[in-house]
Amino acid sequence: MSYCKQEGKDRIIFVTKEDHEAPSNAELVEDDPNDPYEDHGLILPNGDINWNCPCLGGMASGPCGQQFKEAFSCFHYSTEEVKGSECIEHFRNMQECMQKYPELYPQEDESDGATSGGADTAPAEPTGTDEASAPTSPTGDVTTTGTESAAAS
């Protein structure tokens, strides 16, 4: 049973679970998917990758950013049956680069951890498909790199 009290200009309402069971009738404004001001997730409305997405952490801006962008773009636009199968070279470059900065890109047990770490750093990305080439990395790896830089986001 909810009740309500007023303390000066402040109003306080206490609600129980039952009170909030009925769906809300509050009206929200329809979101415009093409709103130019809005921050978009990993994928922009036109299909491009948003390199500035906080979800990527610092992957696209660090020393290996260039390699990461190339590899990830290749994967993203890949239309092969096994998605990204033609991008092996790019991923290899990226991995080589990342190995030069172990502090920034900590290497987990799987050697491909960092590789897929980059691609999977969009953890909530609903359309994230697994790369066939890389085993799915433990989320621990991802979050490590992710948190390090995503914390700034």
Binding site: R11, T16, D39, P63, T147
Partner: protein, 791 residues
């Protein structure tokens, strides 16, 4: 002839009239004397030239002549017009040619002079030729010799150092490392492109090899000789035609390798450009020429395409944004601090909860879930060294520490550092943050008190306070806002272990009195007291002194607090030191640099973070001092610096933890003076900050939020992101009435701020409600959207 005739025809009637009169008078006379009517006819033939008397004749002649003359004049005017026009045009084109010609000539002459002087002096002047493309006239400027020598070079018409020409086409940035000159001249940096060559400005600039026309953002400044030198990125667009012929002339005439700029010390040069020039043949890399060449790299570049003043959160976020959007960008961060960019929230939160005794050294903190991270955004290997910033492939972010920017020249697009060095820029971000405020009573209290006072903001303050907390018996926190309350709670938690007395005092009625509505503020104060803090409310400090080996704080109402150390957390003064020299506006209501909705202060100058007073399209003009705002505004500024033109739109949030059991997140304008509506339920053990971090695996709340945002489908407001429940922890005490809830802050019936009280991972919904800016009749219905009863 015919004119006369036509004229006569026209005048005939007149003539007739006059002749008639005359005739009639004559006729009368005649008729008087002679009766011969037959001979007198009425009409007179007009063809008869001599119609009337002599007077008529004269008249006719005069008029006729006038008309004839007029006719002739008109004829000649009309026919001569075309000829005059052609002549005028010819004149103009002749003049242009004349102008073009003389300039190469003097250049040639002067260049000789320059060469001579160059030879003579041991320390070379550096000649930098900055060619600008301006219409038909090449504008050349030359660096002036240094004050010590080279008088001759200082002619009004700039002499040009040919070699410095950046080739119009390519810009191989690969220059030989700039030679370092001991002799470096006084700073002068060249006003980049536009202006009239500062004749006297010394400038020893090595010719920048510029990526020719197109990209201002990717201009690769040439390596600089020394810090003072600023290269002109300006060079950019030399007009190819003008440059080449001029250069050619110079080249041929020069014949000597040295004339090129060379500057003895600075040497830098650009072997590049010379090779690029068409005629380059003769021009050897001038640089190589004379003078001792110091192979050492300059400490930092004289020009940065992206210059970020301040090395805090906003600056780092901008750097990251720029790098993500502009591939190969070269970003230079200049900071007064000795540290690389780091995040501040852990300094008053997580670092205090760490069990690691070496935490003050490592600055690493363990999150609730056991994961450890450093407060530094990135380890040092992420950054490139400032000295290699200009040449490193793919660009990077360089941080120049322990340098303060003291002067900003907006017209010349350059800044001056405290040691006199100058750096020019293409795009600049001011993210200077602020300086903690101090109480006047403490300022006046004398050295002993000031030594025992900490104005908390930086890493060193954290270290000092941490040390004090271990060594001293009593610490007093003055201030009841976010920082003060967090520090008091953090210290309070240690109080029992360390035998430390923690006192917190502030003028308000309760903790967070200016943020939370009174009932919550009171509730919060009780929580803080439970953490072991002695809270003194309604406390206004009257006087502080140092007596009996203790700091004595005397309050207006007579209470006296004796303590060993004071922490002042009474606000932040935005750092607008550069406003004066830069001519930037400072906001009188909120403080800070006044910028527009796109965070721009002037062309090519943006401000972000604590120092920016910006226009929020939804909520109006404001200045926000929170971590997430620094990140959001820094990121936005970085986007706008790379051409995005986006306004402040994504609303930043903030959070506070008052110990591990009480935490809240908030967004928008959260001011306790606004009317509020709070919707609460009861909290369970799952609804604490600790539980949340364990579940989401992150230690910083804004982190989990942003990661969630990436996945949230736009518009899926109703589907609050719910974190799967973990194992139930032992139930907390149920005494509090305000366990979990949502508080709406209203301004003219529109929700402008929301506090999520012990309710986490709902920030996207809150953001959406504020973005809508709608008037909701029943806020309980709005509260339903948050699903506060669920996890």
């Amino acid at each position: 002839m015919f004119n006369c005739r036509t004229a006569w025809n026209k005048l005939a009637p007149l003539a007739r009239a006059s002749s008639t009169v005359c005739r009639q008078s004559g006729k009368r006379e005649v008729s008087r004397h002679v009766r011969r009517p037959l001979f007198a006819r009425r009409a007179q033939m007009s063809s008869r030239a001599t119609g009337g008397g002599g007077e008529d004749k004269f008249y006719v002649l005069l008029v006729g002549a006038a008309c004839a003359a007029g006719g002739v004049y008109v004829y000649y005017t009309v026919s001569g017009d075309k000829a005059r026009y052609d002549e005028r045009l010819a004149q103009i084109s002749r003049r242009q040619h004349r102008q073009a010609e003389p300039s190469p000539a003097p250049t040639q002459a002067q260049q000789e002079v320059a060469a001579d002087t160059a030879l003579e002096s041991t320390k070379e002047p550096t000649a930098v030729a900055v060619l600008e493309h301006r219409g038909t006239e090449p504008n050349q400027e030359v660096p002036e010799a240094e004050p010590s020598q080279e008088a001759p070079v200082s002619e009004p018409p700039p002499t040009e150092a040919p070699v410095s020409e950046p080739p119009p086409t390519e810009a191989p940035v690969s220059e030989p490392p700039p030679t370092e000159a001991p002799v470096s001249e006084p700073p002068p940096t060249e006003a980049p492109v536009s202006d009239p060559p500062p004749t006297e400005a010394p400038v020893s600039e090595p010719p920048p090899t510029e990526a020719p026309a197109p990209e201002p953002s990717i201009t690769e400044p040439t390596v600089e000789g020394d810090s003072p030198k600023a290269s002109e990125a300006v060079l950019k667009m030399p007009s190819p035609e003008a440059a080449e012929p001029a250069a050619a002339e110079v080249l041929t005439s020069a014949g000597r390798p040295e004339d090129v700029q060379l500057t003895e010390g600075t040497g830098v040069v650009s072997a590049g450009p010379s090779s690029l020039l068409g005629e380059s043949a003769s021009e050897p890399a001038p640089v190589s020429a004379p003078g001792p060449v110091d192979p050492a790299l300059p400490e930092f570049p004289g020009h940065a395409p992206y210059l970020l003043i301040g090395g805090g959160t906003a600056s780092f976020a901008a750097a990251r944004s720029i790098r993500a959007r502009d591939p190969g960008a070269r970003v230079l961060i200049v900071t007064e601090e000795a540290d690389l960019p780091y995040m501040r929230p852990p300094l008053s939160k997580e670092l205090w909860f760490s069990d690691d005794p070496s935490v003050t050294e490592t600055l690493r903190f363990k999150q609730w879930n056991g994961k450890e991270r450093s407060i530094y955004f990135q380890p040092p290997s992420f950054y490139v060294s400032p000295s290699t910033l200009e040449t490193v492939e793919n660009g990077g972010v360089a941080v120049l520490t322990n340098r303060k920017v003291v002067h900003m020249d907006v017209r010349g697009s350059r800044v001056k550092l405290s040691d006199g060095a100058e750096i020019s820029y293409d795009k600049c971000l001011i993210a200077t943050g602020g300086v903690p405020r101090n109480l006047q009573v403490i300022e006046r209290a004398g050295e002993e008190v000031k030594r025992r006072t900490t104005l908390f903001r930086k890493i060193e303050d954290f270290r000092a306070l941490e040390k004090a907390s271990r060594e001293l018996k009593s610490v007093t926190v003055i201030g009841g806002g976010f920082l003060g309350s967090e520090l008091a709670c953090a210290l309070g938690r240690r109080s029992t272990d360390l035998g430390l007395e923690v006192v917190q005092m502030f003028p308000e009625k309760g903790n967070m009195g200016k943020v939370l509505p009174e009932y919550l503020s009171n509730w919060t104060t009780e929580k803080v007291k439970k953490e072991g803090v002695t809270v003194l409310t309604d406390a206004v400090v009257k006087r502080v002194s140092f007596e009996d080996d203790k700091v004595q704080i005397k309050l207006k109402d007579g209470r006296v607090v004796k303590t060993d150390h004071i922490v002042a957390a009474v606000g932040l003064e935005p750092n607008v030191a550069l406003a004066r020299s830069a001519g930037l506006e400072v906001d009188s209501d909120f403080g800070g640099y006044r910028v527009n909705a796109e965070l721009q202060a002037r062309s090519n100058i943006w401000v972000a973070g604590d120092a920016a007073c910006f226009y929020d399209i939804k909520l109006g003009r404001r200045r926000v001092e929170h971590h997430d705002h620094a990140v959001v505004s820094g990121r936005l500024a970085g986007e706008n610096m790379t051409g995005a033109h986006k306004p402040y739109w994504h609303q930043s949030m903030f959070w506070s933890d008052l110990g591990p059991d009480v935490g809240y997140e908030a967004i928008g304008i959260v001011d306790s003076s606004l009317p509020t509506v709070g919707v609460f339920t009861k909290a369970t053990a799952k609804d604490t900050p600790r539980a949340v971090t364990e579940l989401s695996g992150t230690g910083i709340r804004s982190e989990s939020e942003t990661e969630a945002v990436a996945g949230v489908v736009a518009g899926a407001v109703a589907g609050a992101v719910s974190v799967s429940a973990g194992a139930p922890a032992p139930p907390t005490q149920q005494e509090e009435n305000y366990g979990k809830g949502v508080i709406f802050y209203l301004r003219d019936k529109v929700v402008v701020g929301i506090v999520l009280w012990n309710v986490f991972n709902r920030m996207p919904i809150a953001r959406k409600i504020i973005k809508d800016g709608e008037e909701h009749v029943d806020l309980n219905e709005v509260a339903k959207l948050f699903n506060i009863h669920e996890d």
